[in-house]
Assembly symmetry: C2
Homo-oligomer: 221 residues x 2
């Protein structure tokens, strides 16, 4: 009867939306089911009813979000191939196709809302074993497609070298957004990470330069 929050009836969706915000904000362990259900205005037991366990709720959440990012990444990669059809693509559009969908994957309409990189960054460091499963199922296939595309674009870079550098690129994408508070502190307020397009552009520049860096022979103090 009353037009308050829970009248919408889609309890499942409300739980997912609260969970993704809170998980991205504070991680898995620090976010209790009571926090989630309270924020979602639903009963505590409904999480277990709809998802089974807390962990399966997280799994479902990641499944949703990563699938969306994956689709966008592959679509953009396809467009790369089309645009310069026949010849091997340039590096930058490929990196752009990988970076942009993840960086701009925000949820909620608020300015200071949480995002996919923040969520994944949290879970990655908090539950590495769990994340390995997710990696095999969701990340690996897409990453291998991009690795292949990059290998064609910069054949002068050694294959083993490329594994390292692509790994660095992924670390960078997740961390740059997930730890963006440091940028504010470091620059004493001169830079912030709010502008998504700016963040993506800087990331792309940095990653492209890193991937094409000349290899230096082993010699250091």
């Amino acid at each position: 009867m009353d037009a308050t929050a829970q009248s919408t009836r889609n309890t499942r969706e409300r739980i997912l939306r609260s969970a993704e915000t809170l998980f991205a904000e504070s991680g898995f362990n620090a976010t209790s089911l009571r926090h989630i259900t309270q924020a979602a205005n639903v009963n505590l037991a409904s999480v277990n009813y709809h998802f089974g366990t807390k962990k399966e709720l997280l799994k479902e959440l990641i499944r949703e979000r990563v699938s969306s990012v994956n689709e966008q990444r592959l679509e953009r990669l396809r467009q790369c191939r089309c645009r310069e059809n026949g010849k091997p693509s340039q590096l930058r559009p490929i990196v752009e196709a990988y970076v942009v969908p993840m960086v701009q994957a925000k949820y909620g309409r608020m300015k200071r809302e949480s995002s996919s990189p923040e969520l994944i960054c949290h879970i990655q460091t908090e539950m590495p074993a769990f994340m390995e499963e997710m990696h095999r199922e969701f990340f690996q296939p897409v990453q291998e497609k991009f690795l292949e595309a990059i290998r064609e674009a910069v054949p002068e870079v050694d294959e083993r070298e490329l594994f390292w550098r692509f790994h660095f690129a992924i670390v960078l994408i997740l961390g740059a957004v997930g730890q963006r508070s440091r940028l504010m502190l470091l620059s004493r307020g001169q830079c912030d990470g709010e502008d998504i397009e700016e963040t993506a552009r800087k990331l792309i520049e940095f990653i492209c330069a890193g991937i094409t860096a000349p290899a230096i022979p082993a010699c250091q103090s």
Copy 2:
């Protein structure tokens, strides 16, 4: 009388050592005081006796570890300035001075032991508010010294640009070690992050290239 573990009496040190290993492995929230004291072979209450609270134990731990890394970093930076005395230094030695002490800050003699980047990576994403305190107290001063040195080494890079790129460098150093399991999966076992010198070298290459990357005007899809 018996020569078992706790006869050494340096309870405080044993707690610190267990804590740093377990915190680096599983983070703060997922590591209970009972895990720590069990691994250290000491009584549960001794943590509160010696450190007050769990959080202050962590603070003490970070204080120790970061101070050590800071000293090494500044000493190496001093050596940079000496070596090419008078003229502005090159970028690479500066980056090297920043990267190496952190990457090789391992504890324990086992091969697969945890390290400072892993610890900091965990706490950074898990307790950002707490980490801001630590940042102001420990990281900020050293980072500003390095920022200045880098600015002299690559004056052609815009100052605001440099904040971004140094932020990326820090993200990279922490994440490359903390998330090193991905490298194994990505390369299907062809690369691992066990070799510290190799890791440091690849990081230095990537970061130097990223910092000196040519700025590209804003245009993207």
